[in-house]
């Protein structure tokens, strides 16, 4: 009986699992993960280059049916220079959302009335693709 108990005790002490040591690196690792996640491009998005944004927006505007492509300049105002109305502006902003793959909230969309404003807004938006 005593021999069995001794064997059991020896076996258990041999099998004892150390809990603390693997836990510490796991915590450190998760901190690294959080850090990486927080600053990775997938989560935070990344800002697009302003000249690239401008080129793509000008292409979107030029492709709009009612716009005369020769009138489109980087400083063009939708209503004053391109002869568009507020309904066309809504359409163009929607086309930009499609181009850059994100949704522009109503209060921001209402402010976009020229190519310049659109470029500034989209270049400062991390989710624009």
């Amino acid at each position: 009986m005593a021999a069995m108990a001794a064997v059991r005790c020896a076996l258990l002490s041999h099998l004892r699992v150390r809990v603390e040591s693997p836990a510490a690196p796991a915590v450190a690792l998760s901190f690294v993960h959080i850090f990486r996640r927080r600053f990775s491009n997938e989560v935070m998005g990344s800002f697009l280059d302003k000249s690239e944004v401008a080129d793509r927006i000008i292409t979107v505007v030029k492709n709009f049916q009612k716009v005369d492509p020769s009138k489109v300049t980087p400083n063009a105002h939708f209503q004053k220079d391109l002869g568009l109305d507020s309904l066309d502006t809504v359409e163009i902003v929607m086309a930009m959302e499609e181009e850059f793959g994100f949704e522009i909230p109503d209060n921001e969309a209402d402010k976009i009335d020229s190519i310049n404003v659109a470029v500034d807004f989209i270049a400062s938006h991390p989710q624009a693709k």
Partner: protein, 90 residues
Amino acid sequence: MASSAARAEVLSLLRSLLRTATKFSDYNIREYAKRRAIDGFRDNRGLTDPSSIAAAFADGKSQLEVAKRQAVVYSLYAPRIKSVMEAESP
């Protein structure tokens, strides 16, 4: 449009209709919904009588509800083959 608040509301309704239109899985329905929304607003842009403006706005709102519901229903019966109009050009 009478006031700028009403004007913003109308533009917001058009935007919602266009957003809902993009959710249809069938190319033809998607394009129709978009075209219909734009044409409807354009037809009514000359309205000045407040009661007819209110009627047109209410009609647009009810159409938005219909479009939202139908986008969900049609998504259950999405076409298995894309329209040739959606094919990427080589």
